[in-house]
């Protein structure tokens, strides 16, 4: 029944999806945290930059950003991010685009987490003489991160699904393979079911595990 899978590297394609997700998640977490830090900082210019970045990036379709990274950055400006062959170039560009896009949502999630920390804590920290960076790093962010595990897991699930857009610039992940398969094989329903199942396997446990984690680490108030 599943002999239509012969000759296709199904696991390999999903492995690329997982890699895209993990690298982009790391990239967007770092950049998103920096943006959130800027957004609450006492320097007006940094606040303005972070606000502007989030507003601009989240209103552009991810597809536009990813296609731009290939047509604009690579083909026009020859930015290849240190990769030599085209497979690597596309992969790295996709990670860059996904990180830049997802960081805006990480920033928003973190900022809402910062709002959940009671004012008194920051006041107490300041009374002890901690600086802005110390208050943020030692008091606010650790608690903010614990309260935003759930929103961040939603961002991660959305990111997992968004990696499919990378197929638009020829990254050979799961949806790229599926598109080829359903054009060549007369097994539309079975192939669709296999890939749908693949994505459910990737996203459902993420939601369940991180949901459990978020209950476990939540700061009880």
């Amino acid at each position: 029944m599943f002999d239509f899978l012969d000759g296709y590297d199904l696991l390999g394609a999903f492995w690329v999806t997982v890699q895209l997700t993990v690298y982009s998640a790391l990239g967007s977490l770092i950049w998103g945290t920096l943006l959130a830090g800027m957004k609450v900082s006492p320097v007006p210019l940094m606040r303005g930059f972070a606000t502007g970045y989030v507003n601009v990036v989240r209103n552009i379709p991810l597809t536009v950003i990813i296609v731009f990274s290939s047509l604009g950055l690579y083909s026009t400006l020859n930015i290849s991010l240190g990769a030599s062959d085209i497979t690597d170039v596309n992969f790295r560009l996709a990670v860059l685009a996904l990180s830049a896009y997802t960081a805006a949502f990480v920033c928003e999630a973190l900022r809402s987490g910062i709002n959940t920390v009671p004012v008194g804590q920051a006041e107490a920290a300041r009374a002890l003489g901690l600086s802005f960076t110390q208050v943020l790093r030692l008091i606010i962010l650790p608690q903010a991160f614990r309260s935003v595990v759930n929103p961040l897991s939603n961002v991660l699930i959305a990111l997992t699904k968004n990696t499919t857009v990378a197929s638009a610039i020829g990254v050979m992940e799961a949806s790229y393979l599926m598109k080829g398969m359903i054009e060549n094989e007369a097994q539309l329903i079975l192939i669709s079911a296999v890939f749908a199942f693949g994505f459910i396997v990737l996203t459902l446990p993420t939601g369940l595990i991180l949901g459990w984690v978020s209950k476990k680490v939540a700061v009880k108030r």
């Binding site: 209103n59 379709p61 597809t63 536009v64 539309l188």
Partner: protein, 303 residues
């Protein structure tokens, strides 16, 4: 202007902030210069590349306007089909009958777990195998189908969250005056929930508009993003200029919608007549919730 994190600033803090501002400007200027240099050395900033958009209406009439129309068409139909469908499934998930609740939940969770792109590709192939649609209509239908399946399930969650925000006294009161379950839902719960849901629905429209671009990149549906390639080819490889124009259009359209959503949310929160419950637009808009309805349900205490 002080916030939770820092006090009103004294002279030393002010000096330090100026230092940080200067450093930030220097870093930003370095990045801008690097980008400018890169663009200029590839002749992407030459006036000839940008001229078509400012001196003649031809690129707007030939490429951008038809693409924009297709984007709006797909988004509009997706929304008006997904809304009632979403309401149906959202209410279905709240039903007292297991045979309605369980299938609704399965359908909603299933279509939320699958990428929209995959839904569009499958729909496109299904239409080409099982129907006689001509290619142009087929692409539009495929894009709308993908968008509807995904967004109806997200809207179902919004509807469910909206109804759950209402105080349980509403249902009790409706029961007390002898309303049936259907009447309670139709005349008491839904009208109030709709106002609570409005901001979240408007933000979902942004997601729909953004996702139409998938149709252009993957199915070659002739929408706004798809107009970049022919346009860049026609005006002498002005890829950067074309992308800039397209991105600005998307930002203008979606920023208007986002601002409208947050204005609506604030207005509804302040409204005295409603229950004050609002289904928040969430941190991002296209964030899904799996399992519990953790769409920022606000009980109206927070302002």
């Amino acid at each position: 202007m002080s916030s939770v994190l820092y006090d009103a600033q004294g002279p030393r803090a002010k000096r330090r902030n100026i230092l940080y501002t200067v450093l930030f400007v220097l870093v930003a200027a370095a990045v801008v210069w690097w980008v400018y240099d890169g663009l200029a050395s590839k002749h992407q900033l030459d006036w000839i590349k940008w001229k078509p958009f400012f001196t003649s209406s031809q690129p707007w009439e030939t490429f951008i306007w038809p693409g924009f129309q297709n984007t709006i068409k797909a988004a509009f139909f997706a929304l008006i089909i997904a809304l009632p469908l979403g309401a149906l499934f959202g209410i279905g998930r709240l039903s007292e009958h297991r045979w309605m609740r369980v299938p609704s939940a399965v359908v909603v969770e299933f279509f939320r777990a699958i990428p929209v792109l995959i839904l569009m590709v499958i729909a496109n192939q299904a239409y080409s195998e099982y129907t006689e649609l001509d290619p142009e209509t087929r692409l539009l239908y495929a894009v709308i189908t993908g968008l509807v399946l995904y967004n109806a399930s997200v809207l179902a969650e919004i509807v469910r969250a909206g109804i759950l925000t209402l105080p349980s006294g509403q249902t009790d009161a409706a029961k007390a005056i002898g309303m049936r379950k259907g009447q309670t839902m139709l005349f008491v719960l839904l009208p109030q929930a709709v106002t609570a849901m409005l901001p979240a629905i408007v933000s979902q429209v942004v997601v729909i508009v953004k996702d139409t671009a998938l149709g252009g990149a993957v199915l070659s549906f002739p929408e706004l993003l798809a107009s970049v390639r022919p346009m860049a080819a026609n005006y002498g490889a002005n890829t950067i200029a074309c992308f800039t124009i397209i991105a600005v259009i998307y930002i203008a359209l979606n920023f208007t919608l986002t601002s409208f959503a947050s204005w609506l949310e604030q207005r509804l929160r302040r409204a005295k007549k409603s229950t004050g419950a609002v289904v928040g637009t969430g941190p991002g808009g296209d964030l899904e919730t799996i399992g519990a309805p953790s769409l920022n349900i606000d009980d109206g205490r927070a302002v």
